[in-house]
Symmetry: C2
Subunit: 427 residues, 2 copies
């Protein structure tokens, strides 16, 4: 039944039925979690053999002849830079391999530009009191958190089916010197799973920012994380920037957190030589070297880029049924009501659901009371402020499939219940 076309009587009836259903579900005393983009146990088990390739009988010598157990090589071992170069589609000499967290490298990158100018003659961002950052919405809460921590005014830019609205991006950055950057998850973006169109990438590469030190934070977290057999293709921004002469614009990030182990993977970044000179000047004081044994462990496990891609097929086989459960339940339960919209991504880690305007907080609250933890409503907006109180990020990867089914049933009950409440003027 399409809620907007219902009479009050019909809605009251539906509401009563949903209340009963909700009470039943709540009575089960469940404890389910769809809050964060965490790989499930089955996915973690895919990389178990990686722990065996490095043992007491191993050779610890990297391609550059160094004992990887010891200090040295702060930009990472050659074979690992090469592997990440292929993953990111950039020359390996533009890659720096870090610790286990690309978020940490993004934080360091912003932190660096806060106190040192990335372009000679520009002010460090700390000295720009009205500094601003563009935040495509819905987006990744931890990105927004970094620029929040560093006191940026965050300007939301709406996402459409091609990526961030480039008319708005172009207008803003070309007029305001205090806008210093933009957060991007260009492929299977967090949370709506959209991949930036070729035109969007080209327009990014052609930006003419008023700020000489404007940087695109290009977090390619899901660059090889397909879940369907019709994967998206993302244009290579570094190639496009070479054509436009804007090579210093993007800074790229990725990691193996969702390839091997989130808690024990390897992260990397890539940037132009001008940018890298400034970042390396900091890393040179910041650390002697990151964990080279873990870099070598990853390279030995995968062999080469092709080995990584084969490994990703196994993740896909595990993730596809999970996304099917989410999408099928939404289709069955919410579609008929006409109260919600959601994305149908070809990869990534999330399904972004827009429930009825003004009910997202209520839905998350109802779910929590019934034992289902979701990402907080509003989390996909800077400062947690979703002006429509509508977007909820579903993270289906962590729960086992039977739990995911239960959790999605409860989610849909709650979404419908909240919609009825709203339409009936009860909230």
């Amino acid at each position: 039944m399409e809620y907007f076309k219902c009479s009050s009587e019909e809605l009251e009836k539906e509401y009563a039925a949903l209340k009963k259903r909700y009470k039943d579900e709540k009575g089960k005393g469940l404890s389910l979690n769809m809050a964060r983009g965490k790989p499930g146990k089955e996915q973690l088990d895919l990389s178990l053999k990686m722990l065996d390739v490095m043992n007491s009988k191993s050779d610890f010598i990297g391609e550059d002849g160094m004992d990887c157990r010891n200090y040295g090589i702060f930009h990472g071992i050659d074979e690992c830079r090469k592997l990440f170069g292929e993953i990111l589609g950039v020359p390996s000499n533009s890659v720096m391999v870090g610790g286990n967290s690309s978020l940490n490298m993004m934080f360091d990158t912003i932190s660096c530009m806060m106190t040192k100018p990335i372009v000679e003659g520009c002010k460090p961002w700390y000295e720009v009191p009205d500094r601003k950052f563009l935040c495509p919405v819905p987006g990744y809460d931890r990105h927004f958190g970094i620029t929040q921590y560093y006191g940026f005014e965050m300007i939301p830019v709406p996402m459409n089916e091609n990526g961030p609205d480039m008319d708005i991006v172009e207008r803003l950055v070309s007029n305001d010197e205090s806008i210093k950057g933009i957060w991007c998850v260009p492929k299977y973006s967090n949370p709506n799973g959209i991949t930036y169109s070729d035109e969007t990438v080209r327009r990014f590469a052609s930006l003419k920012p008023a700020a000489k030190d404007f940087r695109i934070m290009w977090d390619n977290a899901y660059c090889i994380h397909d879940i369907t057999d019709t994967p998206d293709k993302l244009l290579n921004i570094v190639d496009e920037c070479r054509k436009t002469g804007n090579v210093d614009l993007p800074v790229l990030f990725c990691s193996t957190s969702k390839i091997t182990f989130p808690g024990a993977g390897v992260a990397a970044m890539a940037a132009s030589s001008n940018n890298m000179k400034v970042f390396a000047a900091r890393y040179n004081y910041e650390i002697i070297s990151y964990d080279k044994l873990n870099m070598l462990r990853h390279v030995k496990f995968f062999g080469d880029f092709n080995g990584v891609l084969k490994h990703m097929e196994k993740h896909k086989a595990i993730l596809k049924p999970k996304f099917d459960i989410v999408l099928n339940t939404l289709d069955k339960e919410l579609k008929p009501t006409g109260t919600a919209n959601w994305t149908n991504p070809n990869g990534g880690y999330f399904v972004s659901v827009d429930v009825m305007e003004g009910t997202a907080k209520r839905v998350v609250h109802l779910c929590r009371d019934a034992g289902v933890v979701l990402t907080g409503a509003g989390a996909t907006y800077p400062l947690g402020n979703d002006p429509h109180d509508s977007n909820i990020r579903i993270a289906p990867t962590f729960p086992p499939n039977n739990e995911l089914e239960q959790a999605m049933d409860i989610f849909c009950t709650c979404a419908k219940l909240a919609a009825c409440e709203k339409l009936l003027g009860k909230i």
Copy 2:
């Protein structure tokens, strides 16, 4: 022969003999390195079995019930916090376990205070244009590098046999609000191997800095790194600060870089709850979690603190002969000349040699030309500026013993050669 008592004729003769000896040594075409405090291969091999305790058949569940392969727990797993708590002599709930580098945690700590006040109402240090940091000399070049990077004026404080000259420290910090901290390696200090006396630690705990946000960077890098059977004892600064009510003064650091693997160890820090609140507010945005598998790997390998101490006995057995080679060669070759002084440490990684004033740079240069790489002369002073051009840090741990013998022979030849040159007015 005591050089200062020699006639010019005797010195010229000695000089000629040394020149010949130097030429012979140079002719061997050696390539030896005593530059950095790197453990040698034999030491690295002590921890090989650590790589076997974590394999594809392992249980990855930590004491807090979490799968250590996945995201979560940004302050580190409980059992690892406990272990570092024992190493540092502090409650485990004041410990944060990080990545593989304590230097990285120190950088982050200074970086944090650059842009956020550690004490409410104080200015972030970025906003203190004449910010200063105390640097006991000789000291650790990488410490000085961090405060150099962040634009501090670095004030050298001379070290004596009890640690930094506390009369000077007390006078400086009590009068100047722009002095924000001091670098300390309190046990087996880098490079002179001195352990701070009980009185020094108590005077640190009793400091009354003019700056409310003054912090002691207490890098306990060599806290359990003895090399003789008469180890030094360091008073626990956290206990002393509890007595004086100065609990927020010190921030403690250590790592397993010189216990297991420099390139793949685990680092930790500890601080009061007031301090940790500010640091954690940053870490919360900076990272989701550090490498928990490597934490668990370390805990499984050692079992407990006692296991760590037993392990350190094995390091001692390897290091003692190396320090003996250095000290015996210095005794035999340099002592009779009366031109140099050095320390005789009970632990740590270095022997600090003061060659004849005005010759350190020359000695390092001569050594390099003969194939022996030393830490740059002056490196133990802020900005590399040793006013006496006298201090050289010898790092004997990395070369195999036979190479170390050769390297020390060459070092002594060069030190004597440079002393002759100086006394004869040739440099």
